[in-house]
Amino acid sequence: MSNITHDHHDHRPSGWKRWAYSTNHKDIGTMYLVLSMFAAIIGGAASMLMRAELHEPGIQFITDPQFYNVLVTAHGFIMVFFVVMPALIGGFGNWFIPLMIGTPDMAFPRMNNVSFWLVAAALILLVIAGFIDGGAGTGWTVYPPLSSADYHPGMAVDFGILALHLAGASSILGAINFITTIINMRAPGMTFHRMPLFIWAMLLTAFLLLLAIPVLAGALTMLLTDRNFGTAFFAPDGGGDPVLWQHLFWFFGHPEVYIMILPAFGIISEIVSTFSKKPIFGYLGMAYAMTSIGVVGFVVWAHHMYTMGFNVETRAYFTLATMVIAVPTGIKIFSWLATMWGGSIKFDTPMLYSMGFIFLFVVGGVTGVTLANAGVDMAFHDTYFVVAHFHYVLSISALFSMYAGFYYWFGKMSGKRYPEWLGRLQFWVTFVGVNLLFFPQHFAGMAGMPRRIIDYPDAYAGWNMISSWGAYISAVGGILFFVVLYKTLTSNVKAEANEWGVGATTLEWTVDSPAPFHTHEVTPNIIPEPAE
């Protein structure tokens, strides 16, 4: 047929137009990844400034405590909305959903482009929010009345609200795109129960986004009108209630933490299976464990608010509901271990990061069970113990899955093979760094150190000093990552189409490396399910 030659003609615009106007899932995915790295530098710099300030008791160099609060806020927002989400969802999701389900591109390529540029605009607004009118020093939770016009009179919080609105709109568009693509465009033969777990994870994440983000958008709009148009949704003197904000925020906020970690589950599942040279253990259990985590994740939000004074029955409910989540999470952990059991494992960098992920997630997970109990939470709430907990489960776990996914797929994306020894070095530096950084925070928190303080009583000096050294080591790991990036892109070592061998069975390994501009032009044929 004559159109075969036509198919191979790349309609690839050149120069800046290729990127700015891009409707190609791979280019958009790349842009998301670059944005995420750029944002990680800003968010990481904020962490380093905070840790340097906390290195010793007393004020070191941040003379304006408001600036410290701004750093706390910016660090949280940037890491959640502009590092983890763009990398795991926008980056790897865009790149590998079409490749793994055997379709040429996303369902709505132009909407995909809009999604990306909305995030880019949102990042700019958020950075402005950090520098205008003294910055937004509200924490990423933006609790009123602190975030109301009386206590943050400048434009900073408004810029922050608009930034989140844009990022939220982008996420909703992206979620619609992902859901449509995954439901309608899978290669024939790829039933729901035969999708790679990464695709399951992305589908669930997209549903969580679709259901959670509108609630945040509503709450943000109410805050915006409270601040600027005289409404009193959250103002007690006008009949409103600050606690309403907490409910709305955490109704979004709790699913949000699963939005960050479900894609990580997907990536880790792929990598563990590939490197063990075994299919994933308990595939259906894994898929439905993720589904139940997603569903239950919507009915546990108030465990973030145990100290705000609910009646005891409500706290009892949220305690029990929260503990339920430990069960599917346990299924995932043990299924990963069982996948490795009996495998023939090669411990390349992606696998090292995956094992690191599993360990960190278990450490953070068990402290999560502790914190789920409203009773003991009285001792832990808003202390560094909580900081340690959530950095273990979602920040460094998400980071490890990002690194893991990057090393796993970098050959596919760039066509070059990263230097293995440098990757492993980068892993060990990061692993030591993050544990040194966050483990001592459990102790400081148990001893009573509150979160979000620029200066602490002298007794906490020891753990904070270790924590700060851990932060510097983690930063070295971050710099090493950029060295790996540079070394790989400038090297001549080509990555094969399937660089991981027999264990790599998903469809992205059937196309060349680097993946051509257009892939799966001929629909791949999935062997039909054997009759049982």
């Binding site: 020093g137 609790y143 069960v327 023939s344 494992i345 278990v362 409203a374 709430h381 509150p450 602490y456």
Partner: protein, 288 residues
């Protein structure tokens, strides 16, 4: 390198300079019956409990702690075993096992059993700490940017503010960021109902040794209780981000014998004669 060792030695110096009064603190209970509950350098556990609630929190936490450490060690052990036994050199031929119903049922059911074992004491603790049975007196706490106000509604209804002692006025032996000008004084072994609210933004009144941490929210009055069983001085800090001086609104509670409390009340009533603030608070209460 040199800079690092300088820093280290500086810190070591700092610690050693703190040593004398840490020793003094440890010895204090021996010398007199009162002691202070506060964080210690390199402390890696809870502060000593001073209320039945905190004792129960610690007991329940210990139960969870040992099970959780066991789980982490189990996973770590399995991972080490996997690394040793199932690396590509030791085990060149992977198995094809992808299912084992017994295992899958076990690792679903065992966590459920563990969670039920946790849930029972958790619920007991939660309902125990909820409300005082027979409160003998009431303390009202109000959070302000950036100090606490304390009111004794059923002991003369006087109110006073409790401000941080700034770093430059800290005397040797005082705890930086923890000392206040006017401590809350409370009687020992007395069931005390605590009402909490805030005047501007949200704050959180937290005293680790009491197992108390409650948000103070404008427009709302929260309630908790405590029964401190040891005479002494207790320290806590605001635990909800409340703006610029969030790290500078400590809580200091002096728990004295019932007789000393009566003496203090007499003195305090004259010292902190009712101020205009009280009227504002009553208004807030009426609104509620």
């Amino acid at each position: 390198m040199k800079k690092n060792s300088d820093l280290l030695s500086k810190l070591l110096q700092k610690f050693s300079s703190m040593l004398p009064w840490s020793v003094a603190l440890i010895c204090m209970p021996l010398i007199q019956t009162s002691y202070a509950s506060e964080p210690q350098p390199w402390q890696w556990n809870f502060q000593p409990p001073a209320t039945p609630v905190m004792e129960q929190i610690i007991d329940f936490h210990n139960l969870m702690f040992f099970v959780e450490v066991g789980i982490v060690l189990l996973v770590l052990g399995l991972m080490v075993y996997i690394v040793v036994k199932f690396n590509s050199k030791a085990n060149p031929k992977p198995t094809k096992t992808t299912h084992n119903t017994t295992l899958e049922v076990l690792w679903t059911v065992i966590p459920i059993v563990i969670l039920i074992i946790f849930a029972v004491p958790s619920m007991k603790l939660l309902f125990f700490m909820e409300k005082a049975q027979n409160p003998e007196m009431t303390l009202k706490v109000t959070g302000n940017q950036w100090y606490w106000s304390y009111q004794y509604p059923d002991n003369g209804n006087f109110e006073f503010d409790s401000n941080i002692i700034p770093d430059e006025d800290i005397k040797p032996g005082q705890r930086r960021l923890l000392e206040v000008d006017n401590q809350v004084v409370l009687p020992v072994n007395t069931e005390i109902k605590v009402l909490l609210t805030a005047r501007d933004v949200m704050h959180n009144w937290a005293v680790p040794a009491f197992g108390i941490k409650i948000d103070t929210i404008p427009g709302r009055i929260n309630e908790t209780w405590m029964k401190v069983t040891k005479i002494g001085t207790y320290y806590g800090q605001c635990s909800e981000l409340c703006g610029v001086a969030h790290s500078r609104m400590p809580i200091s509670v002096k728990v004295v014998s019932k007789e000393d409390f009566k003496k203090w009340l007499k003195k305090a009533k004259s010292e902190f004669a009712s101020s205009d603030n009280n009227k504002m608070l009553k208004l807030a209460q009426l609104k509620k």
